[in-house]
Symmetry: C2
Subunit: 122 residues, 2 copies
Amino acid sequence: MTHNRTFDVLTATCPSRTSLARIANKWTAMVVIALSSGRMRFGDLRAKVDGISGKVLTDTLRDLERDGLVTRHVYAEVPPRVEYELTALGHTLQKPLRALGDWAEEHITEVLAARESYDIRR
Amino acid sequence: MTHNRTFDVLTATCPSRTSLARIANKWTAMVVIALSSGRMRFGDLRAKVDGISGKVLTDTLRDLERDGLVTRHVYAEVPPRVEYELTALGHTLQKPLRALGDWAEEHITEVLAARESYDIRR
DNA sequence: CTGCATCCCAGCCGATACTG
DNA sequence: CAGTATCGGCTGGGATGCAG
């Protein structure tokens, strides 16, 4: 049995829903996908997740750190250097989120076709 | 080779990112998970996704329908009956999204512990 | 029962400017 | 370079009321 009976995201008061809300998020997905290739410094991460603003990246990383998914490494240098990497827990999330990203890439043609068809129909 | 080279969600202008933004969303995840158990009418779906408002459920379903993930069946009855079910494309999304939901349920204990630890640390 | 329309608030997110 | 602070726009999302 693969089903969890003690927690259920479909129940409004279940704490697992707070976690789902965090991980079922486009920025979270992109940052975790980007961090899949290993420890990375802030600037590189920002370049890799094309189009993300500094504020959003900072906020996303802080939330991920708070949930125990990402570790922050600060180096006392000038100029400063800060690196981020997935924790063991974060690695377990990598696969499901990459699956989502892969799905988006693999099925975008069908999705675009469906959108066009839907829009024309009205 | 599992990697897609023609589309990349990490690229800001890639259309696949618009799809990722839609599916990497807590309400989308919950609705698709709920629809995994089969065709269902609006009211039942709303009861199953505990706490979702009518407006949000309507909007979410409309977006899913537009992207070709959900089919809408309208019965000309009084009172009206409308049922929703995953399309073939929608079914391919079921597994990755359930994986996300399962992850949230399975790891919520660790996440809560990480949050507490983080919050105390500051 | 379903869903549209409206109003409105909270939070997300981006741009900019400033600090260590 | 990394991060904070602030401001403001935009959108998600909740509540209510109405129509088919």
